[in-house]
Assembly symmetry: C2
Homo-oligomer: 297 residues x 2
DNA sequence: TAAAAATACTCCATAGGTATTTTAT
DNA sequence: ATAAAATACCTATGGAGTATTTTTA
């Protein structure tokens, strides 16, 4: 429940187009026109300047926008608080996440979420951080999960979990030691993710801190997916640097082993991303929920 | 414009009665019932406990009330800001004021107000401070103006103007001096307001500070209205203690003269009173306006 | 049994739609 | 000429009413 006329106004103010706002809100363009006219008549104020192909907000319109958004925010809080009270949620929540999160963290969280809240329709889009942020800006998703915080304007970031990349090898690799030095790492046969992946960027930066370039590594192979890398390791004595969340199960079941590289820190952060102005009410709830789910099993 | 369903809920929450809320909002009782049911269905929350002849707010209802009031406040601000922008106001504003203010200050302010805002319907109820505060609590008026601040719970006070009581006498009173001592005051023939009036209370308190009781004064006569006192002075050499605003014209035109009483301070404050939770939007505007009108002009 | 809340039904104002015209680049 | 906003007109839903029943002190 909220005030649809205010929502129409806010949408038009953001889109600066009656037609686009109509599409966004799934109503006809004349309906939007009428709502805006009604508001303008009601308050005897012109909210939009129609001269020139583009429409613009008048001064009154800007004031109106601020107030209207605060009222709509009030409705969102109301709904959220009532839902928290009864612990019942419904609706649709479109998530977007970068590969590692989408593959290894979110499925667990999403499964628990829909188990508890079966009336919520979840969907998940996968892409790299930039694509996720774009999807958010385009309103194709409601909540994003990315590696690191690029601090895009108009988006708000909130820490979700810490991640660490580790050097692993197959459990049957007889030559593997428990820990090695950075120099020794340079001579090991490595399988890494492809150029351009967030994972590889973290490795590159961590090495740079020790004045080592990627090209100095003995890279056997680069693969597009972490699953592929894991399969490869099963039948080889090579090593790989992967997110610890991606190999949690294999480590627990003893199929892979961690090899400590002294002095090399490969940490990063996973973070929620969502539009500044507080968008979807379920997004907020999902974030709360996710931060309570025990990860890594 | 606002969300009528929320207003219905808030009214019911305050009245704790569907029927009374309906009367207050000028709608039928079934309409109120339906609105509340709709809200309860929408959020799947029980807002009122119906067991026992009286209805009461549930915990959820209390939370809902807080949020709903904040949303409605948002609408009020929106309206007020838009109106300020166009400097156009309409609607009804019911004022209540204690005698002196109602007779000597408000007429001027009200006249200017309706001259500038002809679409506002003003009305004025007169009574003593207690009656004005009662009328506010009963929602029979929207804004009050009283002498002094008794700081009733649930009401908010805002300074409006300073007032001073002065000793006056007819201009033709040959015996009148420009200033006298407190002792000399005791021997003067006085005309005062009736027992129980705010004016007399101020005099009583000020004298008490000098350990003088009302009974020590030479009270010729007590009258119910300041106008009566003024008429009496016109044909007599008596003195009176009245609010300076009540005799501003007579002093300016030389029909009455002030006699200074050394060491006697008869000051008080006029204040606006209005309900805590921000009620009528016009009330706020009228207060702003009134504080800009040059008084005693 | 009396007062308040809930239900049943009727009616109409308005939000929304489609088709079309106007406006502005 | 084209794309967007405004207008005209129609429809149907939901909000409001009256009359009535149910509830509970």
């Amino acid at each position: 429940m909220d005030d649809f006329r205010l929502r129409v106004f806010v949408e038009v103010a953001h889109q600066l187009s009656f037609t686009k706002a109509a599409q966004e809100l799934f109503v006809s363009q004349p309906a939007v026109t009428k709502h805006i006219q009604e508001l303008e008549n009601l308050f005897r104020v012109q909210l939009f300047e129609r001269s020139g192909g583009r429409i613009t907000l008048t001064e009154a319109g800007k004031l109106f926008l601020a107030r209207a958004e605060s009222i709509l925010d009030g409705y969102r809080r109301l709904k959220l608080e009532m839902n928290l009270l009864t612990d019942s949620f419904d609706g649709e929540l479109r998530l977007g996440a970068s590969t590692t999160i989408a593959q290894y963290l979110l499925p667990e969280v999403m499964a628990r979420y829909i188990a508890r809240y079966p009336d919520v329709k979840l969907s998940l889009m996968t892409g790299n951080s930039r694509q996720v942020e774009e999807a958010l800006s385009d309103r194709r998703i409601d909540l994003g999960l990315v590696e690191g915080c690029s601090h895009q304007p108009g988006l708000k970031y909130m820490r979700f979990a810490d991640d660490e990349l580790v050097l692993v090898t197959g459990a049957r690799n007889a030559a593997a030691r428990e820990e090695i030095s950075l120099e020794e790492l340079l001579s090991l046969p490595l399988v890494l993710r492809e150029t351009g992946s967030g994972t590889l960027e973290v490795i590159e930066q961590a090495l740079a801190a020790h004045h080592v370039r990627l090209s100095q590594l003995r890279i056997l192979l680069q693969m597009g997916t972490t699953e592929g890398i894991k399969s490869f390791l099963a039948g080889s004595d090579a090593y790989a640097i992967v997110s610890v969340v991606a190999v949690a199960r294999e480590l627990a079941e003893g199929r892979l082993r961690v090899v400590e590289v002294n002095g090399l820190e490969l940490k990063r952060e996973f973070a929620f991303v969502h539009p500044q102005g507080g968008g979807h009410e379920l997004a907020e709830h999902f974030m709360r929920f996710a931060s309570l789910v025990p990860l890594y099993g």
